[in-house]
């Protein structure tokens, strides 16, 4: 599904990723852990196509296509979704309007007819209930005035409506209390399927108690320095990241 090879990338001329390799197969959940500044968010943004990140070497291949050649909305059309670490507040743009534009933008990309208003509302209602998103949030401007937890819940809600093939969760757990964390994890687990893959970027292993990954990778100084199973996350929690950086050096 996703194959990242020898990826080097920089922001404002500053190298962030230095030869990253990662392969995610359909149905797999991969956790990316690592200290602050290791390049976790950069990786997430590069997959989603955020402007301002320059790839100097290497490639990201998605279902056999060169992902880097696509605009962000084309990547979404291909089934890529990024749950933002800091969801953007957009005054004046209603959540439902945005979501309808997104759903139909993706359908159009795939050569499907637009979804009608009634069908769309039905879909949104069902997903709202499943995620436990308060009704009031749905018709508010995107993320405006939402609490931290509500923003993250909104990301998961959008993910559940858009049903991506590859979802990147960028520190979706940060700043969440345990209840909100469970909601997020539930949302992800409900979507897990043999065709759908997840890359879960996190700083803490706590989230992985609820979203059990197939593989755990440690990102440090722009490279994956260690990969393993769930146990690696537990070890990281016990020992911190320093021992790995030393290993790598």
């Amino acid at each position: 599904m996703l194959k990242i090879e020898n990826l080097h990338a920089e922001v404002d001329g500053k190298p962030i990723l230095r030869g990253l390799n990662l392969t995610v197969l359909p149905g797999e959940v991969h956790a990316i852990m690592g200290p602050n500044g290791s390049g976790k968010s950069t990786l997430a943004y590069l997959i989603a196509g955020r402007p301002g990140y320059t790839v100097t070497q290497g490639s990201i291949t998605y279902n056999g296509h060169d992902l880097l050649a696509l605009a962000p909305e084309e990547r979404a059309g291909e089934g890529v979704f990024l749950a933002f670490q800091y969801p953007v507040e957009i005054p004046g743009v209603n959540n439902v309007y945005m979501l309808k534009a997104a759903v139909n933008g993706i359908r159009k990309y795939r050569g499907l007819d637009e979804m009608g208003a009634v069908e769309f509302l039905k879909l949104v209602k069902a997903k709202t209930k499943a995620i436990g998103l308060p009704d009031g949030l749905l018709n508010r401007p995107v993320n405006q005035g939402f609490s931290g937890g509500e923003k993250k819940r909104n990301e998961i809600f959008q993910m559940s409506v858009l049903e991506p093939h590859l979802a990147i969760l960028d520190e979706t757990d940060s700043g969440l209390d345990i209840d909100a964390l469970k909601v997020v994890a539930d949302g992800v687990n409900r979507l897990r399927s043999p065709q759908r893959s997840f890359v879960v970027v996190t700083h803490y292993q706590r989230l992985l108690d609820y979203i059990v990954p197939d593989q755990v990778h440690v990102l440090a100084r722009g490279q994956i320095v260690k990969s393993g199973t769930r146990e690696l996350a537990l070890e990281l929690e016990a020992r911190g990241y320093d021992w790995l950086s030393e290993d790598a050096a």
């Binding site: 957009i90 743009v93 995107v142």
Partner: protein
């Protein structure tokens, strides 16, 4: 010959009005002639050059095939008056039943039945301190609305006045006039809509006068949906009575060259004005708002928010003057001008102008000019919203709060349609009611 002499000839040709009215018109014309059309050498007009427009010869009447289906707001439940090229069209109007105490008359009617009243209004409009365009409207206006609302009377449905213009061989001069006198504690909503059809150029020189007595509440929506060939000069004069509140909302969506002067006097204690504006200057459009709030009495309040957008090579101007006269106290005046530039060629000049001659006041103002937020663009695109639509959504989002505050959904739709031009997907999205 030019605008002024075209009008002089027209006045000579059609002297069939009461003597007092005719001489008021001639005096107004003379004032305009002496004063001259303002040039870019004047500070207040430095961004808006009308010299090419006023150098043309004008016609004063033209036949017009009206396409009613494309005329906006016709479905709105309202007391409707329609003027076509400045002349009243009974066929397209539907005044309905007015409450007792609301008198709506055509200017023509006032000219024959109450010439003294009309002569007085026109004389004031062409007074020595009046602008040339105000005087030209006095000289040229043949038809228009004179609305008087008696004390304590409440108009439940809005009064909708549509001025539809289009032209023939020569550019047409249209001079709409709207007078509203609101008695003590009366209430009304007035929608003034200027709209054009066809592809020939025309010049609208409109004059609106709102005078309120104690405690009256008037809301005035002034919407410009003129054609891409139109020049629109609009003057709004508001006199707010004691404890009265007048809201003026300028929705400037169309026209090629637009200049609006909104002039509000707060001359009695407790008076309040709310001035709102949304303008969208697209390719080849120039939209200039000059507002002036004159706090002449103590305990008066003004609250002003303008939101402007310029796209393509579009150009916007906002100049907001607040005057606080000596000897006044307890004045509250706020003003905000927020602007969005959608292209590198677009330009918006915004200038707050405060003249304050008193100490006991609260006054706040702010002006911003910015661009679409890149983070928001990426967020929407990452969700699958195509870039063109994402841009349109964010652009509309910029004015959404102001538009959402309009309690008339048909007006909201009119604005939404302007933002959805060339973007049918967005048009459907904004028109769709899934909330």
């Amino acid at each position: 010959m030019g605008l002024i002499e075209s009008l002089a000839r027209e006045l000579q040709a059609q002297p069939n009005a009461a003597a007092s009215v005719h001489s008021a018109r001639l005096a107004a014309l003379e004032h305009a002639r002496t004063k001259g059309v303002p040039s870019v050498a004047e500070e207040d007009w430095k961004y808006t050059d009308l010299s090419a427009v006023v150098a043309q010869d004008f016609a004063f009447a033209a036949a017009l095939e009206i396409d009613l289906d494309s005329l906006p707001l016709m479905a709105l439940n309202a007391h409707r008056l329609v003027f076509v090229n400045g002349r009243f069209s009974a066929a397209h109007s539907a005044l309905g039943e007015l409450p007792a105490g609301v008198k709506v008359r055509l200017l023509q009617e006032v000219a024959t039945r109450d010439p003294v009243r009309l002569a007085t209004l026109l004389t004031r409009q062409g007074a020595p301190d009046a602008s040339a365009f105000s005087a030209l409207n006095a000289a040229a206006a043949r038809d228009g609305v004179d609305c008087e609302i008696a004390a304590d009377c409440r108009l439940e449905l809005p009064l909708l006045v549509i001025f539809l213009s289009a032209a023939g061989a020569l550019p047409l001069l249209v001079s709409p006039q709207l007078n509203l006198h609101a008695g003590a504690h009366s209430q009304a909503t007035v929608i003034e809509l200027h709209v054009g059809q066809g592809t020939a150029p025309y010049l609208t020189n409109s004059f609106t006068r709102i005078v309120t007595a104690r405690g009256a509440r008037i809301t005035h929506y002034r919407t410009i949906s003129d054609t891409a060939q139109a020049t629109h000069i609009g003057q709004v004069e508001i006199d707010v009575g004691a404890d009265s509140e007048v809201e003026n909302f300028s929705l400037a969506l169309g026209g090629r060259l637009v200049r609006l002067d909104i002039d509000c006097k707060l001359a009695a204690p407790g008076g309040k004005t709310v001035l709102n504006g949304v303008f969208m200057a697209g390719q080849n459009q120039h939209i200039d708002h000059h507002t002036r709030v004159d706090h002449r009495a103590s305990h008066t309040t003004s609250d002003e928010i303008y939101k402007g957008i310029a796209d393509g090579n579009g150009r916007g101007v906002f100049n907001g003057k607040i005057l606080v006269q000596p000897g006044t106290a307890k004045i509250v005046a706020t003003q905000a001008s927020h602007n969005l530039l959608l292209s590198s060629e677009a330009e918006i000049d915004t200038k707050p102008e405060l003249e304050i001659y008193a100490d006991d006041l609260r006054c706040a103002h702010g002006a911003t000019v910015g661009q679409l937020d890149n983070e928001s663009m990426f967020y929407l695109q990452a969700r699958g919203v195509p870039a063109v639509e994402a841009r349109a959504l964010l652009t509309y989002g910029f004015v959404q709060a102001a538009v959402a505050a309009i309690p008339i959904s048909e007006l909201q739709t009119l604005v939404a349609q302007r933002f959805a031009i060339d973007n049918p997907v967005l048009a459907r999205l904004l028109a769709g009611d899934f909330t």
